[in-house]
């Protein structure tokens, strides 16, 4: 496999604050990789290091098999789309798109305002630039906007222009720093599909930074979850959701959040949890603490209390049309459990009423007290569950 971008032990501090703590990551050529994490986790800094806008303290970056640490951004053959779009407000859309090409193809003299035009070769080059700009604009359906200034465009149009400016010089790697977060929710979904489509058409490497898990899950070939300057897990979107390596990954991905319930091993194959006992193999010794992670969809309703059934009082019911989320107060639990139940169930729970929940044991994720995922030999499960938009 050829690698588009290879990061080795990237470390970066701003003053005394460590931002990246030894991040290593191989991104395949043509892959769509998303750096996902909450704000301040270092994902944007990592992207800026790939772009060459920031310099790492330690570590190396290679793009297309060649080390680029000593190269300036323009020599790295990367293009970047910024969260703010960073369009030049005084230039028309056409001039914005042409700038990267002018900077690359025209010499310093040829770029001069008046003299440049009469120099030999400028006219021919300007022609090719205009042609490439027109082609890109047509591909993004912004050709009717070329004469306008960015200030006269809507958010979605600006976003397209920003993508166009990155696309026009056909870079090896596309870097995108939260490109959709300034758009409203509806447009964001539409532009998401367009970015996915763009990646398919161009077939080049995309590195995409976002804190929005829906974007990460829908767009990516692989997702790299970052927290506090560390990569916690790099995997396909559905593995990130169904098979997290770390409690923090499980907590960050999924909406509503995963339910985490503290339990204690009673004996081999039995765990005491929330007033009941589950038959679970943890691989831990008697008396050890263990955390059970249960996605909201991992619950089924039970008729009555008993072993393997969690009983609690319904605090809140959220009808979302297709689903019903029940927030259930369970004795001994700080936060209420959130369970997804079928919405069409008319004889469902009532506010304040008692609800019996039977977790599907093959869906339980086990975490050690330090957050590490526990994988006892028997506990193997895949959850083929649909992803959903955050409510």
């Amino acid at each position: 496999m050829t690698f588009g971008v290879v990061l080795r032990d990237i470390t970066k501090s701003f003053g005394p604050t460590p931002v990246l703590r030894g991040v290593s990551l191989d991104i395949a050529e043509g892959e769509f990789l998303t750096l996902l994490g909450p704000s301040g986790c270092g994902k944007s800094t990592l992207l800026r290091i790939v772009a060459g806008l920031e310099t790492q303290d330690v570590g190396t970056v290679s793009i297309g098999g060649r080390p680029v640490d000593a190269l300036r951004p323009k020599q790295r053959d990367v293009a970047m789309v910024f969260q703010s779009y960073a369009l030049y407000p005084h230039m028309t859309v056409g001039q914005n798109l042409a700038l990267p090409l002018r900077m690359r193809r025209l010499s310093k003299l040829q770029r001069l305002p008046l003299l440049g035009r009469v120099l030999p070769g400028t006219r021919a080059l300007a022609g090719t630039i205009a042609r490439d700009v027109a082609q890109t604009a047509a591909a993004l359906e912004i050709d009717h906007l070329l004469e306008r200034k960015p200030g006269q465009l809507s958010g979605g149009q600006r976003q397209r222009v920003a993508v166009g400016r990155a696309m026009v010089r056909q870079p090896e790697v596309f870097l995108m720093d939260e490109p959709l977060s300034n758009l409203d929710a509806k447009l964001r979904v539409a532009m998401r599909a367009e970015i996915k489509d763009l990646h398919r058409r161009l077939g080049v490497t995309f590195v995409y930074v976002t804190h929005d898990q829906a974007e990460a899950m829908t767009l990516s070939d692989r997702v790299a979850v970052m927290l506090e300057g560390e990569l916690l897990q790099v995997a396909r979107p559905r593995d990130i959701y169904a098979d997290p390596e770390d409690r923090r990954v499980a907590e960050f991905v999924g909406s509503p959040k995963i339910n985490l319930i503290e339990g204690r091993v009673r004996e081999a194959g039995a765990v005491d949890v929330a007033g009941t006992t589950f038959h679970l193999d943890t691989g831990l010794g008697r008396g050890k603490a263990v955390t059970l992670g249960l996605r909201p969809e991992a619950f089924g309703a039970a008729e009555r209390a008993g072993p393997g059934v969690i009983t609690g009082a319904v605090r809140l019911l959220e009808h979302l049309g297709s689903d019903l989320y029940a927030h259930v107060d369970v004795p001994g639990q700080q936060a209420p459990l959130i369970a997804r139940l079928p919405a069409e169930d008319d004889a469902g729970p009532a506010n304040g009423g008692t609800l019996h929940l039977r977790p599907r044991l093959d869906h339980v994720l086990l975490f050690a007290p330090d957050g590490r995922r526990l994988r006892p030999a028997q506990a193997r499960r895949i959850m083929p569950l649909p992803l959903r938009e955050p409510a």
């Binding site: 772009a51 060459g52 806008l53 970047m80 910024f82 960073a86 030049y88 005084h90 990267p100 400016r165």
Partner: protein
């Protein structure tokens, strides 16, 4: 501040379903409140600005002398005399020359210093302060300090030049050097003001734009300036140019204290001519005519600059 009077009036007179009389009463109260709030400022503007200007226009067409009990209408005689007067013409040319030296130099150096301060993280506050100090100081007092520096024999400037074996002109008494020297003092004084405004303007440029320019290949200093900095500084630039030009047209303190327009009218400038005619020769009518010309130039210049620059300046 732009106030949308049209829509304000519309809302004021909009028909109110709950009773027209009450709405009218409320509108009246609002108008009264508006008048009361704007009143003091309007009165001051009238008393201190508009009425004096009107008075100047009236006096300019009379032969009034300061303190005289009578005056008579003379039409445009003052203006005719003015434009025939070689001293006035010299004064006009000198003022224009002075402005042509001071404005580009102040704007250019102010921008340069602002860029230098912004580019290095060290001692920013210190550099900002020392460049802004001349602007804070009283120009009259500073003029005297400059006089000492430029003294033909014991001034530090000429002593330095002499020790280097260079010619030592009598800066303020030489027809060829006096205007440039006054311009240098003007630049020195206005530099800090331009610099502070440019610093504020530079701070307002989004860092993302520089990053984008760097990725796009515009990472050389001149390219950055041309692609990002200068266009984004457009509005600030317009303001600095206008204010610096207006201040340069008003040059007076240094001339009055250092040269009194000499030698041989080589440093005679409009405001000094105006002052001398009005308050030393007491030819107030003639002085008022000079004022009218001065006002005309300043207003025309402001309008012209605003027009030209507005078209080329991007407001985001």
């Amino acid at each position: 501040m732009a106030v949308d009077f049209a829509s304000w009036r519309r809302s004021e007179t909009a028909p109110c379903p709950s009773g027209g009389a009450q709405a009218r009463k409320q509108a009246l109260a609002e108008a009264l409140a508006a008048g009361l709030l704007a009143g003091p400022a309007v009165l001051l503007l009238l008393a201190l600005f508009l009425l004096p200007v009107l008075a100047v226009f009236v006096i300019a067409v009379t032969d009034w002398q300061f303190g005289a009990r009578s005056l008579s209408f003379v039409g445009l005689k003052n203006f005719a005399e003015l434009f025939a007067d070689p001293v006035f013409r010299r004064s006009l040319v000198n003022t224009v020359l002075y402005v042509c030296i001071v404005v580009p130099a102040t704007v250019g150096l102010g921008l340069l210093i602002a860029l230098l301060i912004e580019s290095g993280p060290r001692l920013r506050a210190f550099y900002r302060a020392i460049h802004f100090l001349p602007y804070m100081a009283t120009l009259a007092a500073m003029a005297i300090a400059w006089e000492a520096l430029l003294h033909p024999t014991i001034g530090i400037v000429n002593q330095t030049l002499a020790s280097l074996g260079l010619p030592t002109p009598n800066w303020l008494r030489d027809e060829n050097t006096v205007l440039p020297v006054l311009a240098v003092i003007g630049i020195w004084q206005g530099l800090g003001f331009a610099m502070v405004l440019f610093l504020a303007g530079l701070k307002a440029i989004p860092v993302d734009l520089y990053d984008a320019a760097e990725v796009d290949g515009a990472d050389a200093t001149l390219d950055r300036l041309r692609v990002v900095t200068l266009p984004m500084l457009g509005p600030v630039m317009m303001f600095v140019v206008i204010v610096t030009a207006l201040r340069a047209f008003e040059v007076f303190d240094t001339v009055k204290i250092l040269t009194q327009g000499g030698p041989a009218k080589a440093s005679e400038v409009l405001l000094h001519t105006l002052y001398v005619e009005s308050f030393e020769f007491l030819r107030t009518g003639y002085g008022a005519a000079v004022t009218v010309v001065f006002l005309f130039i300043v207003v025309a210049l402001t309008l012209l600059q605003a027009r030209i620059l507005d078209r080329r300046v991007h407001y985001s």
